[in-house]
Symmetry: C2
Subunit: 319 residues, 2 copies
């Protein structure tokens, strides 16, 4: 395919343009937002495809089900919304037994229980490879959804938690050797990611101007946030919180961390949000840069040297 | 796989049991219904998989996109609800160009425009075969959603439109020869099905006790409606409205007609609904049998002889 995922998405968004006033946030953000009744309905959908997003050689049915739910819940969290219900369409290879399918749903059920949402329906079909598509609905107070598009120059950029653990955990899984507690921690980060639902609500309350989850690596996702906001960004590499056992390359290009990337209107908001996140959830919030006029992401090296940062994240169409 | 689709679905529903009071209709019906704000939110998801549900040798990208939306809108219609928004996750083969994808979305956009809903988001990935999963949300007034489970002995069973055209149209498509206007009509029924949204609302207003769309053939789907209602059904084969160019076998076992199968509380309701459907939409409503005590579907032959009707519909796991 000659286009990147982002270019193809942009072309699709043009086909779909012209939505009515009910559509508060349309295609292209973490989730869509619609006026519904007295509130706002938040909607997101993601698919996990065997051989692209997972490999049964290194993932159990239960972990796979768990992760399939979390990936979409994370998009709801990134809007500052609360998850409400999940729907699953499942394409299954004929050689998988009923026990495998029940394990998969058991993992989904567990993720739904932990993130306080209902798994209410879906659809089953046969296929040559496993495909799991999960839609999650959420709720947000009118006007409170946080998109990728609201950041302005001068806003500070921060991330929750630490980055790169999922990519490092995938290396552990592929090696087939779990040799230490650190390996176990990294593996768990890969197979059992956490969606930052409570954190998203706190960041929204502290005035987040733009927010998204880090699903494709910080380099690519910060580029998306800056582009959606019509601005550029400076990223201080030395400040990027890299998970223990991971590398800065994992943090910038690995993906699947599901931490929140947020723009906040100043140091006071950032410090207040950080204090509340630490107290309420034990989750760090780390300032890593700022929104600037212009376009693209500029990396600031430890030496102070600056260079354009290539979007080395996970691109399904160029990988 | 050792279980049928219905048996596996039943096992999954058990894993997911224990939903809270917000969940008005859970897994196992055409769509789920949740309390949300002041109203009720209706949710459904369906997947179309290349090689299982469609074949690019006989389906254009535009027709495929159109149908992918209609399949899920039909589930919303079958609850007596109005569609609101659609989300699409798309798994694409790497050899498909951007032009093909834009055509596909063009067909989805057309179906959304015709059925008055917004296509608000989704997700793209690579895969070895094309998979399209569509979630549609809808709205219904509190307490007005019509499930499969409310029919009681004595209710009359009716279907909208005529059945079997889609299966006959698939034969035309596979033959590669469109030789007559009838062939063209059948082909169109297969590639451009219609979701009976307005009809579902009319049937609800006339007191429908149970309703579903006929996606897997009348034999299987009537069996599902009767089972969900804890009852049996008698089906008068001579009264089944078979589309011109189709056979009774197409109507009973073909599937993908997306007509509505409805139970109504008596002849007066049925005649009033039929009159309104004819006048408002030009859509026939045909009485084909009744709900009875017991279980299973009994076919009444033209001779008056009765026999149990096997569920010869489309079962993804036994086909």
């Amino acid at each position: 395919m000659e286009l990147s995922e982002d270019e193809l998405t942009a072309a699709i968004v043009r086909v779909l343009s012209g939505a009515g006033p009910e559509v508060i946030v349309g295609p292209g953000d973490d989730a869509a937002v619609l006026a519904a009744g007295g509130g706002e309905l938040v909607l997101t959908a993601d698919a996990l495809i065997e051989g692209v997003h997972f490999d049964l050689g290194i993932t159990s049915a239960r972990d796979l089900g768990y992760k399939a739910i979390v990936v979409s819940v994370s998009d709801i969290a990134a809007m500052g919304a609360s998850p409400h219900a999940a729907l699953v369409t499942l394409a299954l290879r004929a050689d998988l037994g009923a026990a495998w399918v029940i394990e998969l749903y058991g993992g989904m059920r567990q993720a739904c229980d932990e993130h306080a949402l209902w798994l209410v329906g879906g659809d089953l079909s046969r296929a040559g490879a496993i495909g799991i598509s999960v839609t999650v609905t959420g709720e947000v107070a009118p006007g409170r959804a946080v998109t990728r598009a609201g950041a302005t120059p001068g806003d500070l950029i921060a991330v929750t938690g630490a980055l790169g653990a999922s990519a490092a955990g995938l290396r552990v899984a592929r090696s087939g050797r779990v040799r230490s507690d650190l390996d176990r921690t990294l593996l768990r980060a890969h197979v059992r990611p956490v969606a930052r639902v409570g954190e998203g609500a706190v960041l929204t309350r502290h005035g987040a101007t733009a927010m998204m989850d880090v699903s494709d690596g910080l380099a690519m996702d910060l580029g998306r946030l800056a582009r959606a906001s019509g601005a550029g960004a400076r990223l201080r590499l030395v400040d990027v919180p890299v998970a223990g056992g991971a590398t800065i390359a994992d943090a910038l290009g690995g993906g699947e961390d599901y931490e929140l990337l947020v723009a906040l209107p100043g140091l006071e908001a950032l410090e207040a949000a950080a204090a509340e996140l630490r107290e309420a959830y034990g989750t760090p919030l780390t300032a890593v840069g700022e929104i600037v006029a212009g376009e693209g992401v500029t990396a600031v090296e430890p030496t102070g040297a600056e260079r354009p940062l290539a979007p080395e994240g996970w691109d399904h169409f160029r990988a």
